[in-house]
C-alpha cells in the first residue's frame, strides 16, 4: 500500500504537485478520519432528512391549518436562509442556551448539531418535492380508489404514497446529491470532516491545489454513488408505460 502511495507521490511531483502528506502517517490518518466522518455525516443526514421530509410533507398536506401553517412557515424560512446561518443559529445560539440551562449535561456535540441542522434543512426541500408528488396524483385515480370502498388509511398507503414517491423520486435524488455537498459546511464549526482535515494540512504545507483535487474527487465519488443508487431505485420503481 505504502509502495503505491510513494509511487503516486513521486509521479505527481513530476507535475509540481506536493502530495507528501499521503506518506506521512499522521497527516494521512487525519485525512482518513475526516473521510470517514464525512461518510458517516452523509449517511446520517440522508436518513434524517428523508424522515424529516416525510413528516413535514404529511403536515403540509394534512389539510389541518394548525399543522400545515407552522410547517409552511418552517419550510419557507429554511429554504430562504443560508445553511451556514442556520448552523450558527443552532450551534452558537441554541447550544449556548442549552449549555446555560443544563450545564455540562448537554449531550449534543457539534457533530450532532450538524446532523440535526442539515437534516431539517434538506427535509424542507424533500417536503416540497413530496408535496408536489402528492398533488400530482390525479384526483380521478383517488376517486376511483374511493369508489372501490378503500378507507382513508388504505387510500394513503396503497395509492397516494406509492404514486407520490414515484413522481417525486428524481427531485428527491437531486436533493440528496446536494446534501452530500452541503456536509462540507460542517467544517465551519470545527467538526472534523474531510474539508476540515484538508484545511489543517494546507495551512501547514500550503498545498491547496493538491488537496482540492483530492477533496473534489472524494465528493465527486460520493455524489456519483448517490446518483447510481438513485437511478437503480428509479429503475426498480418504474411504472412501465409512463415517462421513459
Amino acid at each position: 500500500m505504502t509502495h503505491w502511495l510513494e509511487a503516486f507521490v513521486h509521479w505527481s511531483a513530476g507535475f509540481g504537485l506536493n502530495y507528501n502528506f499521503l506518506v506521512d502517517a499522521y497527516q494521512r490518518g487525519t485525512l482518513q478520519q475526516g473521510a470517514l466522518t464525512t461518510l458517516l455525516l452523509c449517511l446520517l443526514t440522508i436518513v434524517g432528512s428523508l424522515l424529516a421530509g416525510v413528516g413535514l410533507a404529511a403536515m403540509l398536506t394534512s389539510g389541518k391549518p394548525w399543522l400545515a401553517g407552522p410547517a409552511r412557515v418552517f419550510v419557507e424560512v429554511t429554504r430562504n436562509t443560508p445553511t451556514l446561518v442556520q448552523l450558527y443559529c443552532a450551534f452558537l445560539v441554541l447550544n449556548m442556551l442549552l449549555t446555560q440551562a443544563v450545564g455540562a449535561a448537554n449531550p449534543l456535540t457539534p457533530f450532532a448539531w450538524v446532523v440535526i441542522v442539515i437534516s431539517l434543512h434538506k427535509g424542507a426541500f424533500h417536503a416540497e418535492a413530496l408535496r408536489a408528488g402528492i398533488e400530482a396524483v390525479p384526483t380521478v385515480t383517488m376517486e376511483a380508489a374511493s369508489s372501490l370502498a378503500f378507507n382513508n388509511r388504505q387510500l394513503l398507503w396503497s395509492v397516494q404514497l406509492p404514486l407520490a414517491l414515484r413522481f417525486a423520486l428524481p427531485a428527491l435524488i437531486n436533493n440528496l446529491i446536494d446534501l452530500v455537498k452541503m456536509t462540507a459546511v460542517a467544517s465551519a464549526i470545527a467538526v472534523g470532516d474531510i474539508t476540515y482535515a484538508a484545511i489543517m494540512i494546507w495551512t501547514q504545507s500550503d498545498n491547496v491545489l493538491e488537496l482540492m483535487i483530492l477533496i473534489l474527487g472524494f465528493f465527486g465519488l460520493l455524489s456519483f454513488t448517490v446518483n447510481c443508487v438513485g437511478r437503480w431505485l428509479e429503475a426498480r420503481l418504474r411504472m412501465p408505460g409512463y415517462g421513459h
Binding site: 380521478v140 376511483a144 369508489s147 388504505q154 420503481l237 411504472m239 412501465p240 408505460g241 409512463y242
Partner: protein, 278 residues
Amino acid sequence: MPSIETVAEPLVSLRDLHLSFGGNPVLKGIDLDVRRGEAVSIIGPSGSGKSTILRCITGLLQPQKGSIRVGATEVHTLAHEAQRIELRKRVGFVFQQYNLFPHLSVLENLVIAPRKVLGRHRADAEKDARALLAKVRMEHKADAYPGQLSGGQQQRVAIARALAMRPELILFDEVTSALDPETVGEVLAVIRELTEEGMTCVLVTHEMRFAEEISDVVYFTENGVIVEHGSAARIFQRPTSERTREFLRHALGDPGRRPTIAADPYLLTNLSRYSLSV
C-alpha cells in the same frame, strides 16, 4: 335486456335532488328510478349534471336537498365516511380516465380491492380476477401495466375491476368519451354483454345508437333537470319535448352546414387562380 316488468321497488331512487357547487347550482331537482336488472342511460349536453348524478349515487358528492336510496340505504343520511364505504362495496363505478393504478399490474389492480377491502384470500381473488379478465378478453395482459395498454384495454380492465367487488349495480361515467373510435367498440361490447346478463347498469354516455340499443330506460337531462324520460324506443323515435328533438338531431348527425362565401380565396377549388406549387 330483461323485458319482464316487475312492480317491485326500484333498486335506486333519487327524489328531488338539488346540488350546488359554491353558488353555482348544478342539479335542480332530479327524480330518477333504476329497477333491478335494468340498463338506464342518461344523455344530455355537457354541463347538464349527468356525472354529478352518478357521483351522488355512490356518495362521492353530497346533495344539499333531496333523497337518494340505494337498496335499503338512505345515502343522503350517511354522515360518516365509514358508512359510505359500506355503500361503495355494493356499487361499482367506472370513470372516464385514469381509472387504473399505474404502479400495479393488471392482475394486481383487480386483486387489491377484494383483498384489502373485502378481506378475501389472495389465491381466491386471483382465480376470480383471471376469470373476469377472460370475460373482458384481457386474460393475455394479466401481467402488463396500465401504461402499456391502450385506452380501450384500460377501460375493459377497469370494468373487470369494478366487477371483482361483486356489486349489485355498476355506474359508467362517459367511459368511451376519451377513446378513439376503433377502441370504443370493444368497450361497448363488454357493456352490452353485462346488460344481457342482467347486471343493473346506469350509463352516462354520448354514444346515442348504443344507448338506444341496450337501454331499457333513457333520461334526457339539460341544465340540471330531467327534461324527458321513458323507454329507449320512445325517446329516440318519438320524443315529445322540442329540446330533446333538437339535442338528438345534433347528436345523431347533421351538425348544420355553414353557407359558402363566393370567391373565397381559401376554398380549395379556388386555389388554381393563385399560383401555388405543392
